[in-house]
Amino acid sequence: MKADKLLLCLDLSEVDIYVVKYGIRFIERVHPTAEVVLFHNIRHDFLDEYPLFYQEQIEGLKAKVAKKIDEKFGKHFREEGISYSVEVRDLYSTASAIQEALKELNIDLLLMGKKDRLKGAGIIPQKVLAGDKGRTPLLLVPEDLKRSSENLLGAIDLSPSSARILQVTNELAKRFHSHATCLYVYQVPTSYFPYIELDNQEIYKEMRSWAEKKFNQFVKGLKTGLTAGDNLKLVKGANVPATILEYVEAKKLGLIVLNRIARTDLFGNRVGSVSRKLLVTRKLQVPILIL
C-alpha cells in the first residue's frame, strides 16, 4: 500500500490529537520517510455571524490558523523527524476541500477523526468517501481510541476485491510485526435447505471448506505468507458490521481493514453498506482503514 504522502484532516476538536498520535505511530511503522500534510478547511461562512471574526480577512485568518496548527501539532512530527507541512483552505464544503486536496497534492492516504459524542463534522468521512473518484484509502481514527494490540483484522467477503484487503493486511502485519486475521462473516442462506440453524457444525464445515478454497486462490496469486489455517477465520453473524466489531473486541485487535465497496451498485454507490455502517457506528474503538 502506497503511503508516501498522507493528509491528516484536522477539525480543531479534541479528536485531532488522537489522529495526530495514531498517524505518527502508523507512519513510523509503515513508511518513516512519508510526508504529512496537516489540513484544515475554514468554514468562513460559519463565522460570518460572529463579531470576533467580522474584521478578519480570510487570508489573515488562514495564516493565523495555520500558524496555530503548526504550533500545536507540528512539534509531535518534529520530535519524530517526520516531514510535514500545513495546508489551510477555505471552501464552502469541507468534503469538497478535502477531495480537491487529495487530487492536487497527490495524497496516498487520508487520515480523519471519527466523532461519536463530540460535536463536529461526523458526516464528513462519508461524504469524502462517496465523492472520491480516486479511491484514496481512508484511515479513520476514533475518539475513543483504545490501545489494543497491533494485530490486524482484514474483513473479507471472498469476492475478487478481497484480494486487495489480503494484500494490504498482510503488508501492514509485516510492518507492524503483528498477526493478520482475515475474517469472513457468513450467514446461512435460508434457501440452503436442509442446512438449517440446528446443523451448525455441518454448515460450518461446508462454509469453511468453500472459504478456504477461495482464500487459497487469492493468496496464491499474491505471494503473501497468509494461510487459511493460520489466518482465515469464519464467524456466523446476521449483522456483518456488528459481528466484525464483536470479534475485534473479543480478540483485542488493533486495526480493521476493509474495502469501501465489494462491487459498484446500480447507482454508482462508492460506499458499501458494511463500511458505511462502520463509519457511523458509535461502538468503534479501533481505527479502520477503508481501501
Partner: protein
C-alpha cells in the same frame, strides 16, 4: 378577575348566537319556508357542488398521507422534547371513543341494509348487492370520513402546542394572515366554525333522539312522532345542562368511558349472538374490498348514471363530517400532544376506522345475513323508518328487550356526553380559546344545541337535518382547504427552522473551536 356568568369574545359570540337563534325562530314559526329554503339549498348544493365535496375529502386524505410520509412526519406536536400525555394504548382508546357515537348506532344497521335493498349501482344478484352495501358503508365511515378530522385536529394540535396560539379555528390561518387572525377575519372564521359545529351537533342529536323515540316505541309503545322527539330533546338536554350546572363534569366523563365500554360489549354481544363466522369472514372480506376499490369509490361522482343516490348519502356524509370536524378535531388534538405528525395522522386515520369497520361488519353484516336468510324483514322497516333498524334487528335475537334497552341507554348517554362536549367546544371557540369559561355560557350553548335540533326536527325531520348540515358544511369545506394550505406553509417553515437550528449549532461549535485554537498556548496539545 374571572367573570362570573359570561366571559365571551363578543365579535364571535353575538353573530354566532344570532344566526342560531334566527334559525331556531324561523324553524318554529316559519317551518314551511325554512323547509323549502333548506331543501332547495341542499338540492342545489348537492346537484351542482357534489363534486366539490368529493374533491375536498380526497384532498384531505391524500394531503394527510403525504404529510405523514414526508419529512414533516417527524415534527412532534408540542416540540421536539414533548412526551405523549397518554400511553399508546390509552391514546388508541381515546381515538376509538372519538369514532363511536350516535351516528354509529343509528346507521350501523340502517345504512348497510338500506344499500343492500337500494344499491347505488345496478346489481345482478343479492351477493353483489351485499358487497356493494358494505363497500359504500365503509366509504362513508372510513378514511375519507376521517380526513377532515385529521386535517383540523393536526392543525389545531400544531398551532396550539407548537405555536402557542389559542385553541380556536382562527389560529389555523396564522401562516397566511398573521396577526389579522385577531381581527374581523378571525372572528368570521370562528363564527363559521361555531355555526358549522352547532348544526353538525344538532344533526347528530336529532338523529339520536329519533332513534331513542323508535326504541321507546318498540319497547313501551310510546308514540314515535315529532312531539315525542322534542320532549326527549328537552329532557335529555336539561339532564346534560344540569350536570354542567352542578359541576358534574367528572360524572359526564365517567359516563363517557362507561358508555364506550358498554358499546364495545354491545358489539361483542351481537358478534357472539349473531352469525359469528359469517361476520368475521365478512369483516376481512369487506376490508379487502374497500382497500382494493378505495380510489375508485373515493372519486366516484355518479357522472354517467345520473342518479341522486350520492346526494342523499355520500354528499350528506361528507358535509356532516366536515361540519363536525372542529368538534372532533379539538378533542383529538387535546389528547395527542407529544405525538409525531406521522403517528397522529396514521393513528387517527387507521385506528377509529378499523373499529368502525368492525362495527359496521357486525351490525350491518348481521342485518344482511338475516335479510338474505329470510329470517327478518329489516329492509322493509328500514325503508319505512331508518331509526327503527337497530330494534328490528335486535328482535331477531334472544333477550331483545334487554339489548334494545341497552341500545336506548347507549344513545341517550351519547346524547348527553356529545351535548356536554359539544357545548364545551363551542364555548371555547366563542370565548376566544378559553377552556375555563363560566358555566353560564356552557349552559347557554347546551340549551341552544338542543333547541336547534328540536327546531329542525319540527321543521322537517331528517331531511331538514341533512339540509342544514350541507349548508354549514359547504363554506367550512372551503375553509378546510385553506387550512390544508396553511398547514403545508407552517410545516415547511418549521422544517426550515429546524434545519437552521441544526446548522446554527454546528456554526457555534465551529466558531468556538477556531477561537480556542487562536487563543491557545503553543504548549497545549
Amino acid at each position: 378577575m374571572p367573570k362570573k356568568y359570561f366571559d365571551i369574545h363578543a365579535p364571535v359570540f353575538y353573530p354566532a348566537a344570532f344566526i342560531i337563534l334566527v334559525t331556531i325562530t324561523f324553524s318554529f314559526f316559519f317551518s314551511d319556508q325554512i323547509r323549502y329554503l333548506f331543501t332547495t339549498f341542499q338540492q342545489v348544493a348537492s346537484d351542482n357542488l357534489g363534486w366539490f365535496f368529493v374533491v375536498c375529502t380526497n384532498v384531505f386524505v391524500f394531503s394527510a398521507l403525504y404529510i405523514a410520509f414526508s419529512k414533516y412526519g417527524k415534527i412532534r406536536l408540542g416540540g421536539k422534547d414533548a412526551q405523549p400525555d397518554f400511553s399508546t394504548f390509552s391514546w388508541f382508546s381515546m381515538l376509538f371513543s372519538a369514532g363511536i357515537g350516535i351516528g354509529l348506532l343509528f346507521y350501523g344497521v340502517a345504512e348497510p341494509i338500506y344499500h343492500f335493498t337500494n344499491p347505488p349501482l345496478p346489481v345482478d344478484n343479492e351477493i353483489q348487492a351485499a358487497q356493494q352495501a358494505m363497500l359504500y358503508t365503509f366509504l362513508h365511515w372510513g378514511f375519507h370520513g376521517w380526513g377532515p378530522y385529521v386535517i383540523i385536529g393536526l392543525a389545531l394540535g400544531y398551532f396550539t402546542y407548537n405555536k402557542k396560539l389559542p385553541l380556536t379555528v382562527r389560529s389555523l390561518f396564522y401562516p397566511l394572515i398573521g396577526d389579522r387572525i385577531y381581527g374581523w377575519i378571525g372572528d368570521a372564521i370562528d363564527v363559521l366554525a361555531v355555526v358549522s359545529t352547532l348544526f353538525g351537533l344538532a344533526t347528530t342529536l336529532g338523529i339520536g333522539v329519533q332513534q331513542v323515540g323508535a326504541g321507546l316505541n318498540y319497547l313501551f309503545g310510546v308514540s314515535n312522532d315529532t312531539g315525542t322527539h322534542i320532549t326527549l330533546i328537552t329532557l335529555i338536554t336539561l339532564a346534560a345542562t344540569t350536570s354542567v350546572m352542578l359541576g358534574l363534569d367528572k360524572g359526564v366523563r365517567f359516563l363517557s368511558v362507561l358508555n364506550m365500554r358498554l358499546a364495545l360489549i354491545f358489539l361483542v354481544i351481537i358478534l357472539i349472538l349473531g352469525p359469528t363466522v359469517f361476520l368475521l369472514n365478512g369483516f376481512f372480506q369487506n376490508l379487502g374490498q374497500y382497500l382494493n376499490e378505495l380510489l375508485l369509490i373515493g372519486t366516484w361522482n355518479e357522472t354517467y348514471t345520473g342518479g341522486t343516490w350520492q346526494n342523499n348519502w355520500t354528499i350528506f356524509y361528507w358535509a356532516w363530517w366536515i361540519s363536525w370536524s372542529p368538534f372532533v378535531g379539538i378533542f383529538i388534538a387535546r389528547v395527542s400532544k407529544g405525538r409525531t405528525v406521522r403517528e397522529f395522522i396514521l393513528g387517527v386515520l387507521m385506528v377509529p376506522s378499523m373499529l368502525i369497520f368492525l362495527w359496521m361488519s357486525v351490525f350491518g353484516g348481521t342485518a344482511i345475513f338475516l335479510e338474505m336468510a329470510g329470517t327478518a324483514n329489516i329492509a322493509e322497516a328500514v325503508n319505512a323508518d331508518l331509526s327503527t333498524s337497530l330494534f328490528v334487528l335486535l328482535e331477531s335475537f334472544p333477550f331483545s328487550f334487554v339489548t334494545s334497552l341497552i341500545g336506548i341507554v347507549l344513545v341517550t348517554i351519547f346524547f348527553v356526553t356529545s351535548s356536554d362536549s359539544g357545548s364545551l367546544v363551542v364555548d371555547s371557540i366563542t370565548s376566544g380559546g378559553k377552556l375555563d369559561a363560566p358555566v353560564g355560557q356552557r349552559i347557554f350553548w347546551a340549551l341552544l344545541e338542543g333547541a336547534v335540533a328540536a327546531a329542525l326536527l319540527f321543521a322537517g325531520g331528517l331531511t331538514a337535518l341533512q339540509s342544514v348540515v350541507i349548508s354549514a358544511g359547504l363554506p367550512f369545506a372551503v375553509l378546510l382547504l385553506v387550512v390544508v394550505y396553511s398547514l403545508f406553509q407552517a410545516f415547511e417553515e418549521e422544517s426550515r427552522v429546524m434545519k437552521r437550528k441544526a446548522e446554527s449549532k454546528e456554526r457555534e461549535a465551529y466558531a468556538r473551536r477556531i477561537q480556542k485554537l487562536l487563543n491557545s498556548d503553543e504548549n497545549e496539545s
